[in-house]
């Protein structure tokens, strides 16, 4: 989702950009932590957070970057929310979400819920939001989330090879959505998918009021939510203020009164945190050591695993040494992940030894990659087995233009060169995405994945499954019948637990075929002020969970 868009666009220190956007991306714990209310907050206390300046909209259907997701998480309530420990979904606006065959889903809503303008939060409110998002010409950022619902294709236009629209969409509503009665929404998918309920907590699935669709432009700036906070004022590019909605009827609401987001063009908000003007911040690299040596600050430090995986992919569609699995093993074994992180980004990345983030999402497991450790001797042996690297040739490593990532991949290239003797060059390209989809890479390339919803399936199927046995997936030309079968088995599984197990089998297929080399996972960390307590980072989004926070006014 859009956090990836942010990664692509911002082209600067990824974690810092994300980290600077305080806010909760996921959900809250239903019972635990004594979180609901807590009693530790002042009712008139203000939480002061930073927001990236490129937040352009607060329309749920169009919000897909970490920042507007954070804001909307307290302005809107979704059908499900996610447990902060396990990231597993639990029903929130939904009374129940059930299916016999994983294809037709019946969603029952809780009674008597309203939007902040008094309109009812009913099945129609969800249907109208989803139809709007799924309608191709609306060009909503979250459009693709509705691909699984029947009738999606009829809502997209046809284009010729030059990308010119040749045919308007045949339908403007999803045929798979049926409002049975005000409290019941029936959703028919294109095929079985056990993880459907897991997706429903995402921003793109929030309901919208009719008044919102009547004036979408106004609603994008001043949303009409159904959550515990309402947007009071948004001076785009400067600041955003939300205050507690007094008529909120569900249980997960913080007890502090106001949230003030200050928009920042870059990541330069550390001095503001030090001066006491912000409640959450991350120091820039140059200030990292000072912060780490400050015992007072260390008491207000929170850290958690991130969900973003950076990996090295190969153009398997192209002839080259990389079509041999031994060669890919050699590359992986030659990368000193921990050493590189310690030298370049201490504490900001962790070595990856799996394709799904361990503990971050259901089904994530550490150590599924058996060739992800640093073993120069085994690397040399594998390279020999693969027939070596062609003499006199340089290996090109393609990646986007991003200072931090270029430094990281230079270190990776150095590691490979030192341990395998393969000379390399980096090719930081401004049109990385263009070239990747055009299969224009002639060597290994950097890739990154941030999941759309917390389920191990999302690290696997969208990236590796294509159903195209001949060409493989677009990005790197991988295809595996076993992999696709395991995914399909998971999609059809009776329960989510079973599905997760099947998806784990799919990851095991990757571990055998080794099409890509996991490199690092992101890490989320924050320093927080003396005004806030009960700081919990969402393991999925990496953001502080605003609904759990307790805030008191400064001394």
């Amino acid at each position: 989702m859009g956090r990836r868009a942010a990664l692509a666009a911002a082209a600067t220190a990824v974690t810092l950009v994300l980290a600077s956007c305080s806010g909760g991306g996921g959900g809250d714990d239903e019972g635990g932590d004594g979180a609901d209310g807590g009693g530790g907050s002042d009712a008139d206390a203000t939480l002061r957070l930073a927001l990236a300046q490129d937040v352009e909209t607060l329309l749920p259907m169009d919000s897909n970057v970490g920042d507007n997701i954070s804001v909307l998480d307290v302005v809107y309530d979704g059908l499900v929310r996610y447990d902060p420990e396990t990231t597993e979904p639990y029903n929130y606006v939904a009374e129940s979400i059930e299916s016999d065959d994983n294809t037709v889903w019946t969603i029952k809503l809780k009674h008597d819920l309203t939007f902040q303008n008094g309109e009812p939060v009913d099945a129609e409110a969800f249907a109208r939001a989803w139809n709007y998002a799924a309608y191709g010409p609306n060009a909503m950022a979250n459009n693709y989330f509705f691909e699984r619902i029947a009738g999606y294709d009829e809502m997209q236009g046809e284009t010729d090879d030059d990308g010119n629209v040749t045919e308007e969409p045949a339908a403007d509503t999803l045929s798979g959505l049926e409002v049975v009665d005000p409290q019941t929404l029936e959703v028919t998918l294109n095929g079985p998918f056990a993880g459907f309920a897991t997706m429903l907590g995402y921003t793109g699935f929030y309901p919208v009021a009719q008044a919102c669709l009547d004036d979408v432009e106004a609603c994008a700036v001043k949303p009409i939510g159904n959550g515990p906070f309402q947007v009071e004022q948004w001076d785009q590019g400067v600041s955003l203020t939300a205050t507690r909605w007094e008529d909120y009827s569900l249980e997960e609401t913080p007890t502090y009164g106001t949230i003030e987001w200050t928009e920042y063009a870059g990541t330069e908000n550390w001095p503001d945190f030090q001066a006491g003007n912000l409640d959450f911040a991350v120091p820039p690299p140059a200030e990292l050591a000072t912060a780490q040596n400050d015992p007072d600050l260390q008491e207000r430090f929170v850290e958690g695993p991130g969900a973003a995986l950076t990996y090295l992919a190969f153009p398997l569609y192209e002839d080259g040494p990389w079509t041999d699995i031994e060669f890919r093993k050699a590359i992986s074994l030659a990368i000193d992940r921990q050493g590189i992180i310690d030298a370049l980004l201490p504490g900001e990345r962790v070595p990856a030894d799996s394709w799904v983030v361990p503990d971050g999402v259901p089904g994530g497991e550490a150590g599924t990659c058996q060739w992800c450790e640093f073993d120069p001797a085994a690397a040399k042996a594998a390279l020999e087995k693969a027939g070596g690297w062609p003499d006199g040739e340089k290996m090109t490593i393609h990646l986007g233009q991003d200072e931090t990532e270029q430094a990281l991949f230079k270190a990776i290239g150095d590691s490979i060169q030192e341990n395998l003797g393969i000379p390399y060059e980096l090719d930081p390209t401004p049109d990385y995405f263009d070239r990747r989809s055009a299969r224009d890479f002639s060597g290994p390339f950097r890739a990154n994945w941030f999941p759309d919803y917390p389920l191990n399936e999302n690290y696997l199927a969208p990236v590796y499954a294509s159903g195209d046995a001949k060409n493989g997936n677009t990005e790197f030309g991988y295809y595996s019948e076993d992999f696709e079968a395991a995914i399909a088995a998971g999609d059809e599984a009776a329960t989510l637990e079973e599905a997760v197990t099947h998806y784990q089998e799919a990851e095991a297929v990757l571990a055998e075929d080794f099409p890509t080399v996991p490199v690092v996972f992101s890490v989320n960390s924050y320093y927080y002020s003396e005004n806030v307590s009960n700081v919990v980072l969402d393991p999925f989004s990496g953001e502080p969970k605003l609904r759990l926070l307790e805030v008191t006014n400064g001394m």
């Binding site: 956090r3 191709g136 060009a139 693709y144 010119n164 870059g266 503001d272 049109d431 677009t474």
Partner: protein, 334 residues
Amino acid sequence: MGRYILRRSLLGVATLLLVMFVLHLLTTFAIQINGNPALAFFGERVPTAAQLAAVETRFGLDDPCYDQTGNPCLGPFVERLGAYAQGDFGTNLRGREVTDIVATAAPNTLKLFLVVTIVWFLLGMGLGTVAARWRGRSADHGIRLTSVLIDAFPIFVLLLVYRYVFAVPLNAWATETFGADSLPALWFRPSFDDDHSWATLLVPGILLGLAGSAAFIRLVRASQLESYAGDHVRTARSRGLHERHVVLHHVMRNSAVPVVTAVGLTFTEALAGAVITEGMMNIYGMGGVLWEAVRGTDVALVLGVVTILAAVTVAVMLVVDIAYAALDPRIRYA
């Protein structure tokens, strides 16, 4: 006089059109070579052709010429000119009105520039006058050395040191001494605060002014030295006028003319400094907006902002030209 103004105005409009066209070409080629910004909308995801087409339409980049490298895209340019002529400056990629963005950003930049200009004048005229008056003495040497030192500290170094070394302790001290909402506490706030724009713009403005002041100090000094050697000064002195009167009325006033011109010319340089200052101090201003727009290949925003900026610059130049001619009778309206 009327014909002079007319001619200058026409020249101004022609300059404006040229600027717009060159910018249009640059941004168009940027899109053709670097790839459509619509693609960045999808991030790591590979969009379907229909999804991409829909976003291109939304971004106003659906004209096929944007896919043809080398095509100058005259059609969209003419369309845009027509819209501008009707006062419609369009929207940025995500649909926010360009005029709305400028209306929010421009006042902050103007306030910053006002502080900068005052600092320039105070430092330039003050130190330059002293250096010229006591030429060759230790004051002169000291001031010349200072101006070299100022040049050695670019604005980003000044701001970086200020923000990370001085601002936080100064702010803490002021908060403790005078209270959190006191003026001194606001002066030393590490970042801009929209609710207290003047107070929080003061220090960044002074620093930006300081960084650009060296050239002014030297310019004032040089131009006053010239005046001291001028016939009118010798005449004034020979009439027995008091030295202070000579300096104030015959030296400083005359040396002000080239300084006024220089302020106009340095305006563009200040904009470059403003990009850095605004970025580092988190001021929502024109420099920062333009910077982000260029980075995001936001054609409509880049063109809209620059057109408005260029129009203002051309207008200011025009006024300066006319005022200049009015002030100095030796400049003919020929």
